[in-house]
Amino acid sequence: MSMKLSTRQVDGVTIVDCSGRITLGEGSVMMRDTVRDLLSKGNKKIILNLGDVNYIDSSGIGELVSAFTTTKNQGGELKLLHLTKKVHDLLQITKLYTVFDVKDDETAAVKSFK
């Protein structure tokens, strides 16, 4: 299953609903383009909802890191929501789990932005 992304606004926060695979190639490029597009339009409070992401490889992990640092460097915040066990485990073994702000409740995630 290839990757699909859709965005929605909740109380000034942009939620990117991701599904499928974030892997080298199309999935990573879509993620990069979407986050850069949001930032260029001034949307600097971003939540990546990964609840329907069933697979991610090292390139996908790199893309999450890139999205996080790019947003932070532009004065924004990017948080992760609804990690699947696979993605959670990958972020744990790569020691990135504590780098990202990870949430498991959408309402609380939206409210957590400054």
């Binding site: 892997t23 080298l24 190639g25 490889d57 090292s58 390139s59 992990i61 790199g62 893309e63 890191v65 890139s66 996080f68 640092t69 696979k86 990958l90 073994i93 790569t94 020691k95 990135l96 780098v99």
Partner: protein
């Protein structure tokens, strides 16, 4: 699967997906548990990415050789490219604090995390990666399990 099987693949992104799919199918057929199948397929994917991108650098005249061999105790996977070889000492530790926010460099680490043994043999005519996953339980290896 046969006791051993080998594929010669082009240096393309499609090869990465195909390699992963073959690993998933073979590991499933051999009776590995679901999480082990995921680990094996991801390790093969990462190895194929390295072979296609960093080894062969997408060169159309260079191939990736992917081989699976199963013994009663192990699934042995070999991925060979025809690139210039890599310098293992130059590969940074992705868990070091200064590398945590790098956007690449985690492939070999994931391969080592997911497989029981990983051996990387670089040479000027290519790099060979040999990965071993031990067979756990009586059903792996395609045998009937005994209760």
């Amino acid at each position: 699967m046969e006791q051993s099987v080998s594929y010669t693949l082009d240096s393309t992104l499609d090869t990465v997906d195909h390699a992963e799919q073959k690993a998933t199918r073979i590991a499933t057929e051999l009776g590995f548990a679901e999480d082990e199948v995921m680990q094996i397929s991801m390790a093969v994917r990462e190895g194929a990415v390295n072979a296609v991108l960093h080894g062969n650098a997408y060169a159309p005249d260079k191939k990736v050789i992917l081989a699976f061999e199963h013994t009663p105790d192990n699934l042995v996977i070999t991925i060979r490219d025809q690139g210039k070889g890599i310098n293992l000492s130059e590969i940074p530790n992705p868990l070091a604090p200064e590398n945590l926010l790098k956007t690449s460099g985690r492939g070999i680490f994931l391969m080592r995390s997911f497989m029981d043994e990983v051996e990387i043999r670089p040479s000027q005519t290519g790099t060979e990666v040999k990965m071993i996953k031990h067979v756990h339980g009586a059903t792996a290896g395609g045998k009937e399990g005994s209760q």
